[in-house]
């Protein structure tokens, strides 16, 4: 099995703080991998390096054999990475549907002239986008209003929309940053099912998560970070038993 994502010796620092410090791990096609670690361990920073929001100061990021280190976020996105954000980053004034359509931006199918002249091609493309957007919302189990601005939705629904938007990208690699934050138990159970269904679509999922119940249940492999470095890598059970992980992250009675 070849690796879809390979991170080698990745590093980034901010004015002396080494947020990520020589991180190496890889993710195989079709895996569900969780990244865990204490607050400030560098998980989000690592995601940001992979997706081009931070320019790593050292190391390489390789996607499906292609070196994408230092690419702009939009180029990384085009290369096949979709993500969600730890602090929701939806387009608050746009409709739910428009938010999901954003995920399909790279799909094209029309240009400015089509738009100005309202060509059949344009109409076809628009119709397709709308249908697809609905399908993705259905897929994540979203049941709220779709024609109004996303700003008015409660937090949990917004999370769903963000995931739908990321899925609409149809990228092979999906990075989810704390998708379970702010969800209650029942909702987390639904999230668990959703992540599995995403994988069943043939996508590879990497998620950052603090809810151990969810992590243990859903992941095939867990990577543990502390101080910007990997301190453990293995199956949920292995990791849970690892004393270094218990010490740094889980706590004894955890």
């Amino acid at each position: 099995m070849t690796a879809l994502l390979e991170v080698r010796d990745l590093g980034i620092s901010f004015g002396g703080v080494r947020a990520v410090d020589g991180l190496t791990f890889s993710v195989a096609h079709g895996e569900i991998v969780s990244v865990i670690g204490p607050n400030g361990a560098g998980k989000t920073s690592a995601f940001n390096c992979v997706t081009g929001f931070y320019k790593p100061t050292r190391g390489r990021v390789v996607l499906d054999g292609k070196d994408i280190t230092g690419w702009s976020p939009f180029a990384v996105a085009a290369a096949g990475v979709a993500r969600t954000f730890q602090n929701l980053r939806l387009f608050p004034d746009l409709t739910v549907l428009d938010n999901v359509r954003a995920g399909m931006h790279l799909r094209g199918g029309q240009n400015a002239f089509d738009a100005l002249l309202r060509t059949p091609r344009f109409k076809r493309a628009e119709k397709y986008l709308t249908e697809k957007a609905h399908e993705w919302l259905d897929f994540v189990g979203y049941e709220g209003p779709r024609g109004g601005p996303v700003r008015d939705l409660p937090y949990g629904r917004q999370r769903q929309v963000e995931i739908a938007r990321a899925l609409a990208r149809e990228a092979p690699l999906v990075l989810l940053d704390e998708p379970g934050a702010g969800l209650n138990h029942g909702e987390k159970a639904e999230l668990l099912g959703l992540i599995r269904r995403i994988r069943d679509l043939g996508r590879t999922v990497v998620l950052i998560e603090h809810d151990m119940g969810l992590v243990m249940e859903v992941s095939e492999r867990v990577v543990v970070l502390d101080h910007g470095r990997e301190i453990a890598d293995g199956t949920p059970a292995q990791v849970k038993a690892d004393p270094a992980v218990v010490e740094a992250y889980l706590g004894r009675e955890g």
């Binding site: 702009s72 939009f74 996105a77 428009d98 954003a102 738009a115 100005l116 609905h134 259905d138």
Partner: protein
Amino acid sequence: MGKWVGPAGLLVAVAVPFVDASPYTLNVLTTAAIFVMLAAGLNIVVGYCGLLDLGYVAFMAVGAYTSGILSTALELPLPLTIPAVLVVAVLAALVIGAPTLRLRSDYLAIVTLGFGEIIRITATNLDFTGGPTGIFGIPGIEVGGPAGFYFFCVAVVALAVLGSARLERSRLGRAWMFIREDEDAAEAMGVNTYRVKLLAYVFGAVWGALAGVLFAAHLSAVSPQSFVFLQSALVLMAVVLGGMGSTRGVVVGAAVISVVPEVLRDLGAFRYVFFGVVLIVVMVLRPQGLWPVRRREPERAEVREGVRV
């Protein structure tokens, strides 16, 4: 109701001269029409894409000067200058946009203001632009007197407004709005924000430059006085007053900003005091603009009669 707002507005614009066709009325209407086009163009940049541009009349100046210079120096009929105007406008947009569009909003504002001033002052200082006096004796577009020219303007402006509205509801238009709402998130969706912003600039510039051509034809003269900062501010006000990003609103806003001072003309020295008060009152009463966007689209149930997949 949405469908017939545009045609209804157009009908009103066409009907007015049949009620009153004095040179003054026609002049005010023509000026207003050109102003609507400017506002529609700036709305692409500010309203859709969220780039605060305080020097928008620079593009109008580029259009007006290019067509003015070419038509007087080469004795070309004005419409034949349009290809050159388009080329120069796009170049201007690229030159102004390329180094500055990486800046965030407020810094962009001052830079565009600076470019606006640079263009105006340069036009004042150079000889081939006619110095402070500018270019004059520009041939009009002869389509049947002032009324004919007004109808011509209305037609062009209507197309421009329709065009900008269509752009808004397209992939490019959505990309602009993604950038306006959240640039980082837009990048994560694969939007090449730099290029898409530049495109907003280019479209805005083309609209502005074409309005400049109409302006040159209308006044028969182009001079730096017409491209002062206040003019940029007025166009921006039209956009905001109408409701940023709302095509209909912007048309209404432009009409208000260009017509109200004329209506107040008879107040003499006090007219700008009143204009100022009108602006404050209107905005306090309608903070979102006169006709803001209500971003809503039909729910699926409304489209497919509740059929679920």
